[in-house]
Protein backbone atom coordinates (compact mmCIF):
# COMPACT_ATOMS: atom_id res chain seq x y z
CA UNK A 1 0.00 0.00 0.00
CA UNK A 2 1.26 3.43 -0.87
CA UNK A 3 1.07 5.85 2.01
CA UNK A 4 0.52 9.58 1.75
CA UNK A 5 4.14 10.05 2.71
CA UNK A 6 5.27 7.92 -0.20
CA UNK A 7 2.89 9.69 -2.56
CA UNK A 8 4.32 13.05 -1.50
CA UNK A 9 7.82 11.69 -2.02
CA UNK A 10 6.92 10.41 -5.49
CA UNK A 11 5.30 13.68 -6.45
CA UNK A 12 8.34 15.66 -5.37
CA UNK A 13 10.61 13.36 -7.38
CA UNK A 14 8.28 13.65 -10.39
CA UNK A 15 8.29 17.45 -10.15
CA UNK A 16 12.10 17.43 -9.99
CA UNK A 17 12.27 15.13 -12.99
CA UNK A 18 9.86 17.27 -15.01
CA UNK A 19 11.49 20.57 -14.07
CA UNK A 20 14.99 19.16 -14.55
CA UNK A 21 14.43 18.48 -18.23
CA UNK A 22 14.91 22.19 -18.93
CA UNK A 23 17.89 22.75 -16.60
CA UNK A 24 21.35 22.97 -18.13
CA UNK A 25 24.88 23.46 -16.86
CA UNK A 26 26.73 26.50 -18.21
CA UNK A 27 30.49 26.49 -18.48
CA UNK A 28 31.36 30.16 -18.28
CA UNK A 29 33.55 30.39 -15.19
CA UNK A 30 36.35 28.55 -13.48
CA UNK A 31 35.73 25.53 -11.29
CA UNK A 32 32.04 24.76 -10.84
CA UNK A 33 29.70 25.25 -13.83
CA UNK A 34 26.64 27.46 -13.32
CA UNK A 35 23.02 26.49 -13.77
CA UNK A 36 20.70 27.82 -16.45
CA UNK A 37 17.15 27.26 -17.65
CA UNK A 38 16.10 26.54 -21.22
CA UNK A 39 13.44 29.22 -21.09
CA UNK A 40 12.17 29.33 -24.65
CA UNK A 41 13.25 27.37 -27.69
CA UNK A 42 16.92 28.21 -28.20
CA UNK A 43 17.06 30.68 -25.28
CA UNK A 44 18.78 29.94 -21.97
CA UNK A 45 18.38 32.18 -18.92
CA UNK A 46 21.02 32.29 -16.18
CA UNK A 47 22.18 34.65 -13.47
CA UNK A 48 24.61 37.33 -14.59
CA UNK A 49 26.95 36.90 -11.63
CA UNK A 50 27.66 33.26 -12.46
CA UNK A 51 28.58 33.97 -16.11
CA UNK A 52 32.14 35.19 -15.87
CA UNK A 53 33.15 35.22 -19.51
CA UNK A 54 31.48 36.37 -22.70
CA UNK A 55 33.12 33.96 -25.12
CA UNK A 56 33.80 30.23 -25.34
CA UNK A 57 30.65 29.32 -23.45
CA UNK A 58 29.39 25.75 -23.59
CA UNK A 59 26.39 24.13 -21.95
CA UNK A 60 25.80 20.61 -20.75
CA UNK A 61 22.29 19.53 -21.70
CA UNK A 62 20.07 17.27 -19.56
CA UNK A 63 20.98 14.28 -21.77
CA UNK A 64 24.63 14.81 -20.90
CA UNK A 65 25.76 16.16 -24.27
CA UNK A 66 27.65 19.43 -24.56
CA UNK A 67 26.81 22.20 -27.00
CA UNK A 68 28.16 25.71 -27.66
CA UNK A 69 26.09 28.72 -26.59
CA UNK A 70 26.48 32.42 -27.28
CA UNK A 71 25.84 35.24 -24.86
CA UNK A 72 22.90 37.30 -26.12
CA UNK A 73 23.08 39.89 -23.36
CA UNK A 74 23.34 40.54 -19.68
CA UNK A 75 21.68 42.78 -17.15
CA UNK A 76 23.70 43.25 -13.96
CA UNK A 77 20.82 45.27 -12.46
CA UNK A 78 18.50 42.25 -12.30
CA UNK A 79 21.34 39.69 -12.25
CA UNK A 80 20.08 38.02 -15.40
CA UNK A 81 21.94 36.85 -18.48
CA UNK A 82 20.56 35.36 -21.66
CA UNK A 83 22.29 32.88 -23.96
CA UNK A 84 21.34 31.47 -27.30
CA UNK A 85 21.51 27.77 -27.98
CA UNK A 86 21.24 26.73 -31.61
CA UNK A 87 19.92 23.51 -33.08
CA UNK A 88 19.31 21.47 -29.95
CA UNK A 89 16.17 19.69 -28.92
CA UNK A 90 15.83 20.34 -25.22
CA UNK A 91 12.56 20.67 -23.30
CA UNK A 92 11.60 24.25 -22.52
CA UNK A 93 10.61 25.35 -19.04
CA UNK A 94 6.94 25.18 -18.15
CA UNK A 95 6.30 28.64 -16.71
CA UNK A 96 3.68 29.38 -14.08
CA UNK A 97 2.23 32.66 -15.21
CA UNK A 98 -1.33 32.42 -13.92
CA UNK A 99 -0.73 32.70 -10.18
CA UNK A 100 2.09 34.09 -8.07
CA UNK A 101 3.67 32.02 -5.29
CA UNK A 102 2.17 32.15 -1.81
CA UNK A 103 3.94 32.38 1.50
CA UNK A 104 4.37 28.86 2.83
CA UNK A 105 4.11 27.24 -0.58
CA UNK A 106 6.30 24.20 -1.09
CA UNK A 107 9.07 24.96 -3.58
CA UNK A 108 12.08 23.17 -5.00
CA UNK A 109 15.26 24.82 -6.23
CA UNK A 110 16.93 22.93 -9.06
CA UNK A 111 20.48 23.24 -10.27
CA UNK A 112 22.91 21.54 -12.57
CA UNK A 113 26.41 22.42 -11.37
CA UNK A 114 27.82 19.68 -13.59
CA UNK A 115 26.31 16.75 -15.44
CA UNK A 116 23.93 15.87 -12.61
CA UNK A 117 20.76 17.59 -11.54
CA UNK A 118 20.53 18.77 -7.92
CA UNK A 119 17.51 19.70 -5.82
CA UNK A 120 16.87 21.43 -2.53
CA UNK A 121 13.49 22.11 -1.04
CA UNK A 122 11.79 24.53 1.26
CA UNK A 123 9.00 27.04 1.33
CA UNK A 124 8.44 30.57 0.10
CA UNK A 125 9.16 32.57 3.23
CA UNK A 126 7.89 35.95 2.09
CA UNK A 127 6.28 37.59 -0.89
CA UNK A 128 6.46 41.37 -1.13
CA UNK A 129 5.83 43.96 -3.79
CA UNK A 130 8.06 45.36 -6.48
CA UNK A 131 11.58 46.19 -5.40
CA UNK A 132 14.78 47.55 -6.77
CA UNK A 133 18.07 45.69 -6.49
CA UNK A 134 21.21 47.35 -5.17
CA UNK A 135 22.16 47.86 -8.81
CA UNK A 136 18.89 49.52 -9.67
CA UNK A 137 17.13 46.66 -11.40
CA UNK A 138 13.33 46.63 -11.21
CA UNK A 139 11.99 43.31 -9.97
CA UNK A 140 8.26 42.68 -9.97
CA UNK A 141 8.02 41.07 -6.57
CA UNK A 142 10.35 40.09 -3.76
CA UNK A 143 10.29 36.32 -3.33
CA UNK A 144 12.34 35.30 -0.33
CA UNK A 145 12.94 31.59 0.06
CA UNK A 146 13.54 29.32 2.99
CA UNK A 147 15.78 27.12 0.87
CA UNK A 148 19.43 26.27 1.42
CA UNK A 149 21.90 27.63 -1.11
CA UNK A 150 24.23 25.10 -2.71
CA UNK A 151 26.64 25.10 -5.62
CA UNK A 152 24.50 25.61 -8.69
CA UNK A 153 21.66 27.39 -6.87
CA UNK A 154 22.00 30.68 -8.76
CA UNK A 155 20.66 30.49 -12.30
CA UNK A 156 18.56 27.41 -11.59
CA UNK A 157 14.78 27.46 -11.58
CA UNK A 158 12.51 27.65 -8.57
CA UNK A 159 9.72 25.19 -9.29
CA UNK A 160 6.43 24.45 -7.62
CA UNK A 161 5.14 21.03 -6.60
CA UNK A 162 4.02 20.35 -10.17
CA UNK A 163 7.33 21.26 -11.77
CA UNK A 164 6.28 24.65 -13.11
CA UNK A 165 8.83 27.46 -12.97
CA UNK A 166 8.19 30.33 -10.54
CA UNK A 167 11.42 32.19 -11.17
CA UNK A 168 15.19 32.09 -11.43
CA UNK A 169 17.09 31.65 -8.17
CA UNK A 170 19.86 34.02 -7.19
CA UNK A 171 22.07 34.32 -4.18
CA UNK A 172 23.64 37.50 -5.58
CA UNK A 173 20.83 39.99 -5.08
CA UNK A 174 20.08 40.11 -1.37
CA UNK A 175 23.31 39.75 0.59
CA UNK A 176 23.71 36.06 -0.02
CA UNK A 177 20.17 35.14 0.98
CA UNK A 178 18.02 33.06 -1.30
CA UNK A 179 15.65 35.00 -3.54
CA UNK A 180 13.94 34.16 -6.79
CA UNK A 181 13.59 36.55 -9.70
CA UNK A 182 9.93 36.15 -10.67
CA UNK A 183 8.87 34.82 -14.06
CA UNK A 184 7.37 38.19 -15.11
CA UNK A 185 10.68 40.00 -14.54
CA UNK A 186 12.58 37.29 -16.38
CA UNK A 187 10.18 37.41 -19.33
CA UNK A 188 10.50 41.17 -19.66
CA UNK A 189 14.27 41.17 -19.29
CA UNK A 190 14.72 38.29 -21.72
CA UNK A 191 12.65 40.13 -24.32
CA UNK A 192 14.69 43.28 -23.97
CA UNK A 193 18.05 41.51 -23.88
CA UNK A 194 17.24 39.49 -26.99
CA UNK A 195 16.22 42.66 -28.78
CA UNK A 196 18.99 45.01 -27.66
CA UNK A 197 21.61 43.00 -25.78
CA UNK A 198 21.45 45.37 -22.81
CA UNK A 199 18.77 46.82 -20.59
CA UNK A 200 18.30 50.46 -21.51
CA UNK A 201 18.36 52.65 -18.42
CA UNK A 202 18.29 56.40 -18.03
CA UNK A 203 20.94 58.16 -15.99
CA UNK A 204 21.77 61.61 -14.70
CA UNK A 205 25.43 61.38 -13.72
CA UNK A 206 25.03 62.31 -10.07
CA UNK A 207 26.07 60.84 -6.77
CA UNK A 208 23.73 61.53 -3.86
CA UNK A 209 23.53 61.13 -0.16
CA UNK A 210 20.42 61.43 2.05
CA UNK A 211 20.40 64.54 4.30
CA UNK A 212 17.88 65.94 6.72
CA UNK A 213 16.82 69.48 5.86
CA UNK A 214 17.11 71.73 8.96
CA UNK A 215 13.71 72.28 10.58
CA UNK A 216 13.83 76.03 10.23
CA UNK A 217 14.52 75.80 6.52
CA UNK A 218 11.91 73.09 6.02
CA UNK A 219 9.34 75.30 7.78
CA UNK A 220 10.26 78.35 5.76
CA UNK A 221 10.04 76.43 2.48
CA UNK A 222 6.90 74.59 3.66
CA UNK A 223 8.38 71.18 2.90
CA UNK A 224 6.45 68.04 3.65
CA UNK A 225 9.40 65.78 2.96
CA UNK A 226 12.26 66.84 5.25
CA UNK A 227 14.79 64.33 3.94
CA UNK A 228 16.40 65.14 0.63
CA UNK A 229 19.40 63.99 -1.35
CA UNK A 230 22.56 66.04 -1.23
CA UNK A 231 24.25 66.12 -4.62
CA UNK A 232 27.66 64.85 -3.56
CA UNK A 233 29.14 64.41 -7.00
CA UNK A 234 28.32 65.54 -10.50
CA UNK A 235 29.86 63.75 -13.41
CA UNK A 236 31.61 66.29 -15.53
CA UNK A 237 29.85 66.59 -18.91
CA UNK A 238 27.08 64.22 -17.77
CA UNK A 239 23.36 64.96 -18.20
CA UNK A 240 22.97 66.64 -14.79
CA UNK A 241 26.10 68.76 -15.26
CA UNK A 242 24.88 69.87 -18.69
CA UNK A 243 21.49 70.83 -17.30
CA UNK A 244 22.87 72.94 -14.46
CA UNK A 245 22.73 70.68 -11.40
CA UNK A 246 25.35 71.90 -8.94
CA UNK A 247 27.36 70.19 -6.25
CA UNK A 248 25.64 70.98 -2.95
CA UNK A 249 22.11 71.17 -4.34
CA UNK A 250 19.65 69.19 -2.25
CA UNK A 251 17.34 67.18 -4.48
CA UNK A 252 13.81 66.91 -3.08
CA UNK A 253 11.72 65.53 -5.90
CA UNK A 254 11.91 64.21 -9.44
CA UNK A 255 8.87 64.56 -11.67
CA UNK A 256 6.79 65.43 -8.62
CA UNK A 257 7.80 62.32 -6.64
CA UNK A 258 9.69 62.84 -3.37
CA UNK A 259 13.19 61.40 -3.27
CA UNK A 260 14.77 60.62 0.07
CA UNK A 261 16.91 57.65 -0.85
CA UNK A 262 19.23 57.05 -3.82
CA UNK A 263 16.96 54.17 -4.88
CA UNK A 264 14.12 56.68 -5.29
CA UNK A 265 16.21 58.31 -8.01
CA UNK A 266 16.85 54.97 -9.67
CA UNK A 267 13.12 54.31 -9.60
CA UNK A 268 12.63 57.39 -11.82
CA UNK A 269 15.25 56.32 -14.31
CA UNK A 270 13.65 53.57 -16.36
CA UNK A 271 14.65 53.13 -19.99
CA UNK A 272 11.68 55.20 -21.20
CA UNK A 273 13.11 58.33 -19.51
CA UNK A 274 16.08 58.63 -21.84
CA UNK A 275 15.98 61.95 -23.68
CA UNK A 276 12.80 63.20 -21.98
CA UNK A 277 13.17 66.21 -19.65
CA UNK A 278 12.04 65.76 -16.06
CA UNK A 279 11.48 68.40 -13.40
CA UNK A 280 13.98 68.27 -10.54
CA UNK A 281 13.03 70.20 -7.40
CA UNK A 282 16.13 71.29 -5.47
CA UNK A 283 17.11 73.55 -2.59
CA UNK A 284 19.88 75.88 -3.69
CA UNK A 285 21.10 78.75 -1.54
CA UNK A 286 18.16 78.29 0.81
CA UNK A 287 15.61 78.66 -1.98
CA UNK A 288 13.50 76.18 -3.87
CA UNK A 289 14.29 75.89 -7.52
CA UNK A 290 13.02 73.66 -10.31
CA UNK A 291 15.48 72.51 -12.93
CA UNK A 292 14.68 70.68 -16.13
CA UNK A 293 17.09 67.79 -16.54
CA UNK A 294 17.21 65.40 -19.45
CA UNK A 295 18.55 61.95 -18.58
CA UNK A 296 20.94 60.32 -20.99
CA UNK A 297 21.34 56.64 -21.60
CA UNK A 298 23.30 54.99 -18.87
CA UNK A 299 26.68 53.65 -19.87
CA UNK A 300 27.67 50.28 -18.37
CA UNK A 301 28.39 50.16 -14.66
CA UNK A 302 26.95 53.55 -13.72
CA UNK A 303 24.28 53.66 -11.08
CA UNK A 304 22.30 56.91 -11.20
Amino acid sequence: MTTLLESLSNELATAVEAGGRAVVAIHARRRIPASGVHWRQGVIVATNHTINRDENITVTLPDGTTAPATLAGRDPSTDLAVLRLAGQSVATAHLRLDSSPSVGEFVIALGRPGPRLTASWGVVSSVAGAWRTWRGGAIDSLLRLDVSIYDGFSGGPLIDATGRVLGINSSGLARGTAVAIPVATVERTVGELLERGTIRRAYLGIGTQPVRVPQSLARRLELKNTVGLLIASVESGGPADRDGVLLGDVLLALDGADVSDPTDVLAQLGGDRVGRPIAALVIRGGQLQTLQVTPGERPERRAA
Binding site: L4, L5, E6, S9, N10, E17, T118, W121, Y150
Partner: protein
Protein backbone atom coordinates in the same frame (compact mmCIF):
# COMPACT_ATOMS: atom_id res chain seq x y z
CA UNK B 1 -10.49 24.12 9.02
CA UNK B 2 -9.59 20.49 8.58
CA UNK B 3 -6.45 19.34 6.89
CA UNK B 4 -6.85 15.63 6.21
CA UNK B 5 -3.82 15.46 3.93
CA UNK B 6 -1.44 17.19 6.32
CA UNK B 7 -2.86 15.35 9.31
CA UNK B 8 -2.39 12.05 7.51
CA UNK B 9 1.13 12.99 6.46
CA UNK B 10 2.06 14.00 9.98
CA UNK B 11 0.76 10.75 11.43
CA UNK B 12 2.52 8.67 8.81
CA UNK B 13 5.76 10.55 9.29
CA UNK B 14 5.55 9.97 13.04
CA UNK B 15 4.89 6.27 12.43
CA UNK B 16 7.83 5.98 10.01
CA UNK B 17 10.10 7.73 12.52
CA UNK B 18 8.91 5.40 15.30
CA UNK B 19 9.66 2.33 13.21
CA UNK B 20 13.10 3.66 12.32
CA UNK B 21 13.90 4.45 15.93
CA UNK B 22 13.38 0.79 16.82
CA UNK B 23 16.24 -0.22 14.52
CA UNK B 24 18.48 2.68 15.55
CA UNK B 25 20.90 2.34 18.47
CA UNK B 26 23.28 4.60 20.31
CA UNK B 27 26.91 3.57 19.90
CA UNK B 28 29.49 4.67 22.43
CA UNK B 29 33.04 3.51 21.88
CA UNK B 30 34.48 2.11 25.12
CA UNK B 31 36.42 4.62 27.16
CA UNK B 32 35.24 7.63 25.18
CA UNK B 33 32.63 10.23 25.94
CA UNK B 34 31.48 10.79 22.37
CA UNK B 35 28.68 8.72 20.93
CA UNK B 36 26.98 8.30 17.62
CA UNK B 37 24.20 6.28 16.11
CA UNK B 38 24.06 2.84 14.58
CA UNK B 39 21.67 0.67 12.61
CA UNK B 40 20.54 -2.86 13.46
CA UNK B 41 21.41 -4.89 10.40
CA UNK B 42 20.31 -8.38 9.45
CA UNK B 43 23.37 -10.61 9.85
CA UNK B 44 21.81 -13.13 7.49
CA UNK B 45 22.06 -16.12 9.79
CA UNK B 46 18.37 -16.99 10.12
CA UNK B 47 15.79 -16.11 12.74
CA UNK B 48 17.79 -16.81 15.87
CA UNK B 49 20.93 -14.95 14.79
CA UNK B 50 21.81 -11.70 16.47
CA UNK B 51 21.79 -8.65 14.22
CA UNK B 52 24.92 -6.68 13.52
CA UNK B 53 25.24 -3.01 14.33
CA UNK B 54 26.44 -0.92 11.40
CA UNK B 55 27.89 2.49 12.17
CA UNK B 56 30.68 4.79 11.04
CA UNK B 57 34.32 3.91 11.65
CA UNK B 58 34.67 7.37 13.20
CA UNK B 59 32.01 6.44 15.77
CA UNK B 60 33.27 2.95 16.64
CA UNK B 61 36.82 4.05 17.28
CA UNK B 62 37.68 1.26 19.79
CA UNK B 63 37.46 -2.53 19.69
CA UNK B 64 34.50 -2.49 22.07
CA UNK B 65 31.43 -0.30 22.26
CA UNK B 66 28.38 0.12 24.45
CA UNK B 67 25.14 -0.22 22.54
CA UNK B 68 21.92 1.31 23.81
CA UNK B 69 18.67 0.22 22.20
CA UNK B 70 15.62 2.35 21.64
CA UNK B 71 13.92 0.77 24.69
CA UNK B 72 16.82 1.79 26.89
CA UNK B 73 18.41 -1.67 27.17
CA UNK B 74 22.18 -1.66 27.09
CA UNK B 75 24.64 -4.27 25.91
CA UNK B 76 28.24 -4.52 24.81
CA UNK B 77 29.42 -5.09 21.27
CA UNK B 78 32.69 -6.02 19.61
CA UNK B 79 33.94 -4.50 16.37
CA UNK B 80 34.22 -7.26 13.77
CA UNK B 81 35.04 -5.12 10.76
CA UNK B 82 36.18 -1.57 10.32
CA UNK B 83 37.06 0.40 7.19
CA UNK B 84 38.30 3.93 7.72
CA UNK B 85 38.29 4.79 4.02
CA UNK B 86 34.59 3.95 3.64
CA UNK B 87 34.02 5.14 7.22
CA UNK B 88 32.12 1.97 8.10
CA UNK B 89 32.24 -0.39 11.06
CA UNK B 90 30.30 -3.54 11.91
CA UNK B 91 29.81 -4.69 15.49
CA UNK B 92 28.64 -7.97 16.92
CA UNK B 93 26.26 -7.77 19.87
CA UNK B 94 27.08 -9.75 23.01
CA UNK B 95 23.44 -10.06 23.88
CA UNK B 96 20.24 -9.18 22.18
CA UNK B 97 17.99 -7.73 24.78
CA UNK B 98 15.60 -5.68 22.72
CA UNK B 99 12.48 -6.89 20.96
CA UNK B 100 14.16 -7.71 17.68
CA UNK B 101 13.86 -6.11 14.31
CA UNK B 102 16.43 -5.06 11.80
CA UNK B 103 16.49 -2.30 9.23
CA UNK B 104 14.71 -3.11 6.01
CA UNK B 105 17.09 -2.25 3.17
CA UNK B 106 15.73 -0.77 -0.02
CA UNK B 107 16.98 -2.76 -3.00
CA UNK B 108 15.00 -1.19 -5.82
CA UNK B 109 13.98 1.15 -7.35
CA UNK B 110 17.00 3.44 -7.66
CA UNK B 111 16.89 6.68 -5.70
CA UNK B 112 15.31 9.62 -7.43
CA UNK B 113 16.29 13.24 -6.94
CA UNK B 114 13.66 15.00 -4.85
CA UNK B 115 12.52 11.92 -2.94
CA UNK B 116 11.81 12.44 0.75
CA UNK B 117 14.41 11.12 3.15
CA UNK B 118 14.36 10.72 6.93
CA UNK B 119 17.42 10.61 9.18
CA UNK B 120 17.49 9.45 12.80
CA UNK B 121 20.27 10.29 15.25
CA UNK B 122 21.15 11.29 18.77
CA UNK B 123 22.34 14.90 18.71
CA UNK B 124 23.47 16.25 22.06
CA UNK B 125 21.22 15.08 24.85
CA UNK B 126 18.50 13.92 22.50
CA UNK B 127 17.84 10.31 21.61
CA UNK B 128 16.14 9.30 18.42
CA UNK B 129 15.82 12.76 16.90
CA UNK B 130 14.49 12.90 13.34
CA UNK B 131 15.11 15.23 10.42
CA UNK B 132 13.39 15.35 7.06
CA UNK B 133 14.85 16.32 3.71
CA UNK B 134 15.06 15.35 0.07
CA UNK B 135 17.60 13.61 -2.13
CA UNK B 136 19.82 16.39 -3.48
CA UNK B 137 21.51 14.43 -6.20
CA UNK B 138 21.59 10.81 -7.23
CA UNK B 139 23.24 8.60 -9.79
CA UNK B 140 26.85 7.60 -10.13
CA UNK B 141 29.55 9.20 -12.18
CA UNK B 142 28.83 6.40 -14.63
CA UNK B 143 25.39 4.95 -15.18
CA UNK B 144 24.65 1.74 -13.33
CA UNK B 145 27.27 2.20 -10.65
CA UNK B 146 26.44 2.88 -7.04
CA UNK B 147 27.67 6.39 -6.27
CA UNK B 148 30.08 6.63 -3.35
CA UNK B 149 27.70 8.96 -1.51
CA UNK B 150 24.05 9.85 -1.31
CA UNK B 151 23.78 13.62 -0.99
CA UNK B 152 20.68 14.92 0.73
CA UNK B 153 19.25 18.37 1.41
CA UNK B 154 19.05 17.59 5.10
CA UNK B 155 20.55 19.05 8.28
CA UNK B 156 22.60 16.59 10.29
CA UNK B 157 24.07 17.49 13.66
CA UNK B 158 26.88 15.66 15.44
CA UNK B 159 25.30 12.51 16.86
CA UNK B 160 23.62 11.54 13.58
CA UNK B 161 26.81 9.84 12.39
CA UNK B 162 26.32 6.12 11.78
CA UNK B 163 22.53 6.35 11.91
CA UNK B 164 19.97 5.48 9.27
CA UNK B 165 18.91 7.48 6.24
CA UNK B 166 15.59 6.07 5.08
CA UNK B 167 13.07 6.70 2.31
CA UNK B 168 9.41 7.65 2.71
CA UNK B 169 8.53 3.97 3.13
CA UNK B 170 10.92 3.66 6.07
CA UNK B 171 13.39 1.54 4.09
CA UNK B 172 17.08 2.05 4.73
CA UNK B 173 18.97 3.75 1.90
CA UNK B 174 22.17 4.83 3.61
CA UNK B 175 24.29 5.39 6.69
CA UNK B 176 24.58 9.08 7.62
CA UNK B 177 28.22 10.02 7.74
CA UNK B 178 28.99 13.71 7.44
CA UNK B 179 27.92 17.19 6.36
CA UNK B 180 29.74 18.78 3.46
CA UNK B 181 28.92 22.09 1.82
CA UNK B 182 25.58 22.24 3.61
CA UNK B 183 24.60 18.76 2.41
CA UNK B 184 24.24 15.50 4.28
CA UNK B 185 26.38 12.69 2.91
CA UNK B 186 25.42 9.08 3.52
CA UNK B 187 27.11 5.83 2.51
CA UNK B 188 24.60 4.03 0.23
CA UNK B 189 23.13 0.87 1.77
CA UNK B 190 24.21 -1.10 -1.33
CA UNK B 191 27.84 -0.22 -0.59
CA UNK B 192 27.40 -1.34 3.03
CA UNK B 193 26.06 -4.66 1.77
CA UNK B 194 28.95 -5.31 -0.61
CA UNK B 195 31.45 -4.13 1.98
CA UNK B 196 29.98 -6.50 4.58
CA UNK B 197 30.14 -9.42 2.16
CA UNK B 198 33.80 -8.80 1.56
CA UNK B 199 34.55 -8.13 5.21
CA UNK B 200 32.82 -11.32 6.35
CA UNK B 201 34.32 -13.56 3.68
CA UNK B 202 36.66 -16.11 5.20
CA UNK B 203 40.22 -14.84 5.21
CA UNK B 204 42.60 -16.55 2.82
CA UNK B 205 44.74 -19.10 4.66
Amino acid sequence: MTAPMTTGLTQQLAAAVDALRRVTVRVQASGTAASGAGVLWDAGGGDDSRPLVITNAHVATRAQATIQFDDGAVTQARVVARDRRRDLAALELEARTAGGGVAQVRGAPPLQIGELVIAIGHPGELTGAATLGIVHTAGGERAGRTPPWIRADLRLAPGFSGGPLADAGGRLIGINTLMQGGLALAVPAALVQSWLQRAQAPAAP
